[in-house]
Amino acid sequence: MSKPAPKTYLAPGHRGCAGCCDALAAKFMLMGTGPNTIVVNPTGCLEVMTTPFPESAWKVPWIHSLFENGGAVASGVEAALKALGRKEGIKVIGVGGDGSTMDIGIRSLSGAFERGHDITYVCVDNEAYMNTGIQRSSGTPFDASTTTSPPGKISFGNPRPKKNMPAIMVAHGSPYVATTSIGYPRDMIKKVKKATEIEGPAYIHAHAPCPTGWGFDGSKTIEMAKLAVETCLWPMYEMENGELTQVKKVKNPKPVEEYLRAQKRFKHLFTMDGGDEEIKKIQATADWNIEFYGLQ
């Protein structure tokens, strides 16, 4: 009954950890884009583990430059292709992590989207800087423990909520902004394909659980990704020209506790005094998502 999976263009044998979320994300992304793709990949785990010189796992043209400039390099590639009259049928894809997208790279990404380059940008969000040793990013969720947001006497971990990056990209007037998750390959492939077929700057935000950084077994990456969606902590939706056009419904949302308990980065919420209250705050975020995006 199911159709065969589309061909991908990421070779096995890269150096990702067992159960690596970035490898899965890149694989699904390329299933959506097809072979006529130029990939721009700022610094991060994905870049490091797929391209230890002189090897490469990418079967499509691939460019790495700095950490903060994915949007700018993608803009340059797109503009050059247009100048050469060769843009037709070629997809320019930026793919970066939460750091290179939401923190250090947001300025160049904002520039690319504001100017309206015909690119698709995929954020593979594993919610911390895994490449440099699990420091917090603006994608790190509330109360998660990282090396720079350790829980202790004065905090329960990361004191800030996750930045709503898709909303920022919607505010740029992007024709297509979608959230997805590596736990739902078909959804991700479909959305990436759609994004590349739409003229103008499109943005995909893919939730990507990292076994190493979050502290769970490498065999559970997909399970963890699904739990985030099933607990409504990660809503999956599409927004076209600023309008919410599609939402993945969650019939019987699971309590967030189920998701939190499975990860070492939230372990302290179950051992520290006052942890219960913190879990309630996180449940309130899920409840807000249900209400705001109409997940039920």
Partner: protein, 351 residues
Amino acid sequence: MATQLVKGNSAIIIGALYAGCDCFFGYPITPASEILHDASKYFPKIGRKFVQAESEEAAINMVFGGASAGHRVMTSSSGPGISLMQEGVSYLAGAELPCVLVDIMRAGPGLGNIGPEQGDYNQVVKGGGHGNYRNIVLAPNSVQEMCDMTMKAFELAFKYRNPAVVLADGVLGQMIESLEFPTEATVPEINTSWAVNGTAETRPNLITSIFLDFTELEQFNEKLQAKYAEIEKSEIDYEEYLTEDASVVLVSYGISSRICRSAVDLARQEGIKVGLFRPKTLFPFPAAELKALADKGCSFISVEMSNGQMIDDVRLAINCSRPVELVNRMGGNLITLDQVMDKIRKLAGEA
């Protein structure tokens, strides 16, 4: 006195805390990240501020803000991050703001890799950003000096209202040695005579680096040069090891100098009179001291993990009056004892 086994990067934060550093602003990068980790762990506990920035550019400009308010502030990074900070460093020097930067050098150019190198010498010692400015640059070669020189950097930064850099490398950052803790902590005074920190008396103060009038800017530049000349006169620091009778003097800083020390000992066992000259300050560079050695007729080997950057300063220091050879490695590789010895034996054979 407490002695503990400590990682080089951790020793930086211990030094910073003893030096009365108020605020740490930083962004992670290997092999410097432990400085940030330790700052996040210890600063808030004792009422000091730790802020993780969204980029190195943000971190250095937070330093600009904190320093403007007269506080003792610092940041740390490695090559690529230091490159990104250069605009801010030029502005800090231009606004005459005291601050401490730590560069745990890694291999470049570009992303390079996370192995140790000393390839940031030019960008840190020569200025790096635009304009006629200098950083005060201290070069530790042990975990102890990582701590001590961080304290010294704060002292010099405030004495001269100038950025001071602790220039170390990936090995020094990552290695563990015993550290004797400082005996006394500095009790910082916030100087409000030039700072802007939201009080009535600092309201007329102005922190800027813009001078629209060409002559005024020239005069300001001359004032900066006079300050650098004063630093060159007063703050030079170096270590000499068996240079007195040496026919060959190794010039080396940081982790490379540790290997050179072994080479000196080994060469002397072989009957070759070798010494080591280790600059502990790279700006100011101990030029006169090297010239004095050159005048005695020795030859030099600059030993550095770069394409040969400090060697230019050695040649300038001695007015090219004696031969200066280079022993180097790049790409994240350490210099080996054999490599240094081969060059020493070659020079001894020629003599």
